[in-house]
Assembly symmetry: C2
Homo-oligomer: 443 residues x 2
């Protein structure tokens, strides 16, 4: 087994035992990248020598944390002090130093600074849909089938983790941009509670929705990343998660169930049967019928963010800004104050109703995506099973434990109550034990 | 009359007529600063030559916008590509280039980029409470009485605009950090609807609350700044604001009225009499009694943000981080998931109730602050009349039209419904006409 095949948690344990160095692990990941990048095209910026230098420096130091020496990929909307940040936008890549918007890298985003301070090796920047929003697609391909999208907008992070190029990565989610690539690529993904991981230093799109997302190759990997922010909850200990067979989980097919492909519906129902057979108590937990418009409200809230998010680029370099952003800046939906208030308040009521139904449950099961990754690279697939949860600001974890008949990944999504991110990871770890071990594109 | 005495709107009109150059205006502001800065200490970073160079460059160009050539001060939590950004924190000022958190300026925050692209002259960075949050106080003094606080945390922005050093400035508000200095210093201030002006490039504290704030020397000045983001509302035209005598305004003394000093209460009641005599219809518009805890909820939401906001500084330079931030990082309130959900949902219900009462009204009158600026520089004064509105995410404008018996400024605050920022400025302009013209410390 090559080092790159280890999850972050496995590699971290070996490093703690002194039987694996960061340099060996990072070099192995770089070899995997060299072997696969021509096909997968997950990376926007990569500096192999600089990554090896970081690894060597970490190997010379005492361990700072369980992330010490572990390589991480960062979506290229997250600023880094040592690598360019170009958002997959021509505005930032044209090398025109006279533009006030082309800047040499000199500062880490909040999340990058936290990971770096804990000893993580910033391996490189991963491909993204332009501004994590629209416009230009990345060249990234799905590691399971190069003719399919990896999903977006955190395309490179999802594909790189699933393909063994890097064990951990960060993305973002405003609609479905973290969970969708996790589902399509077969990675473990997490969208935490909105607002808990600061968005400083990341290009924003819609402030009510923008969330830092986490990728790993196991629930333990997600926990490694989550714990970097030190946000353990005082009452997590008081309400420990029991064994898998004692879980009580809600089931939410959502108002969008009809949009799921038959294979996805069958896989989801199969998961319910498997969990039920293992002793998990399953409880219906649907959003009320009055909330069938939640994805519409989410879209209005998201598009409203686009009315100001891209204004600096519009003023500084209009010719380089894709017309899709220009439309958003022009308020193409004709959003009014009354409509915005109605959308935000409807979502707030929906959130209260959902969490009320969650009381006494350990989480809610729902599809991660409506099917397998679609064919083609100029699509991201649908986010109908993500946008509602992003609007509700609740934490979500996607487990790569379901598969289509042709062997493509289908995620199983677990959703929890706001601020119970740590507990949701505990629940996800229990649920994962009831399924077969994850498959990998290299097996 | 010296040029520095003109408001931004007056100066902009003169520049449009070709009778005032940016260089003359900026030099005049710099002279005012040279005269007063020893006393007021509003500035953290100022580069007079660079500001004059910007002004000259603007004078050579066609006008890009009404802000063309107008100098603006930016609170020193807002990143700038040409001046340091140090947050009044020892972590960022020690010149230790080996620290990953000390970075040369190379990028504008979103708001700075927008203003610069529209031709504004970035005059300098204004003093702030450490991280706009706690810890170290700035040296800034109240221009009306150097023994008093200017209020915080946007201390330098409020004081500089009120004192004639610069006509426009940006601040931030998470509790009362924009409206409070406006009230204490006698500036016009605005806290827009949460989320409409992107926070990219500004140090965040609490994501549900952090808002870019605006300062000017008239309502027209605030409008100049607000319009920079291009967020006019499609239905503002459909519901135009009538003349002052036809306004219908709510009156909200808030659950915190008892905390207002007698002089502030009397000034507020006097304002109501004046408005009523002018024909304005006044309607009681209190928060329900069930919302008396709104400031407590706001504090919990704010302190929760501090649990992660300062983690990079804590990891990189713990010895330089004030113990107040370390307490926040340690969850000193013992906030639990259930308590956070309860606070957020209570605020959401309060917001819906308040805006329901606002229907048919042009805005709500409420005090800007509980009294005049307190004596001493190691206080910011109370934000009891600000924190609730920040939590509700509604737009607020403070008008410097009320005065204490000893001649110190007392603000009158106007609050509107979310997303009606432009309309609230129209209402504020009408209300301002019913009071005497603003006074200035130099008269």
């Amino acid at each position: 087994m090559d080092a790159w095949q280890w999850s972050a948690a496995e590699a971290s344990a070996r490093m703690a035992q002194g039987v694996l160095s960061s340099e060996v692990y990072v070099r192995s990941c770089l070899e995997r990248i060299a072997h696969r990048e021509g096909d997968v095209q997950a990376w926007a910026h990569l500096d192999a020598e600089a990554a090896i230098a970081q690894a060597r420096a970490r190997d010379r130091e005492p361990r700072r944390s369980p992330l010490h020496g572990i390589p991480v990929g960062l979506k290229d909307v997250i600023r880094t002090r040592d690598l360019p940040t170009t958002f997959n936008s021509p505005v930032y890549e044209n090398g025109d130093a006279a533009s006030p918007l082309v800047f040499p890298p000199n500062e880490d985003a909040h999340c990058a600074a936290v990971l770096r301070a804990l000893g993580a090796v910033i391996l490189g920047k991963t491909q993204t849909l332009e501004f994590a929003c629209g416009g230009r697609f990345p060249p990234t391909r799905n590691p399971w089938d190069l003719g399919r999208t990896p999903g977006g907008s955190s395309s490179g992070s999802g594909a790189a983790v699933a393909d063994g190029m890097v064990p951990l990565a960060l993305g973002t989610q405003t609609g479905g941009s973290t969970i969708r690539p996790a589902a399509f690529c077969g990675a473990f993904g997490m969208k935490p509670t909105w607002g808990r991981l600061p968005f400083d230093g990341i290009k924003s799109f819609a402030p009510h929705l923008d969330t830092v997302g986490l990728y790993g190759r196991s629930v333990e990997d997600l926990r490694l990343l989550w714990q970097a922010w030190g946000l353990s909850e005082p009452d997590e200990d008081a309400r420990p998660v029991g064994p898998a067979r004692a879980l009580r989980l809600g089931v939410c097919r959502t108002p969008f169930w009809d949009q799921a492909e038959a294979a996805a519906q069958q896989a989801f129902e199969g998961a319910l049967s498997r969990l039920s057979a293992a002793g998990v108590v399953l409880v219906p937990c649907e959003l009320g019928q009055e909330h069938a418009a939640v994805n519409t409200w989410q879209d209005e809230i998201m598009q409203d963010g686009g009315r100001s998010a891209f204004r600096p680029e519009m003023l500084a370099a209009p010719a380089l800004l894709h017309e899709e952003f220009q439309r958003k800046l022009g308020n193409h939906l004709g959003l009014t104050p009354a409509r915005m208030r109605a959308a935000l308040d409807a979502v707030a009521r929906c959130r209260m109703g959902f969490e009320h139904r969650l009381e006494g449950l350990d989480g809610v099961l729902t599809p991660s995506a409506p099917g397998v990754a679609p064919l083609g690279l100029h699509t991201q697939g649908l986010a109908v099973f993500n946008r509602l949860w992003t609007a509700l600001q609740v934490p979500c974890v996607s487990l790569p434990v379901l598969w289509s008949p042709e062997g493509l990944p289908l995620g199983l999504q677990l959703v929890g109550a706001r601020y119970e991110d740590g507990r949701l990871l505990d629940v996800a770890a229990r649920v994962a034990t009831l399924f077969d071990p994850p498959r990998h594109p290299w097996n």
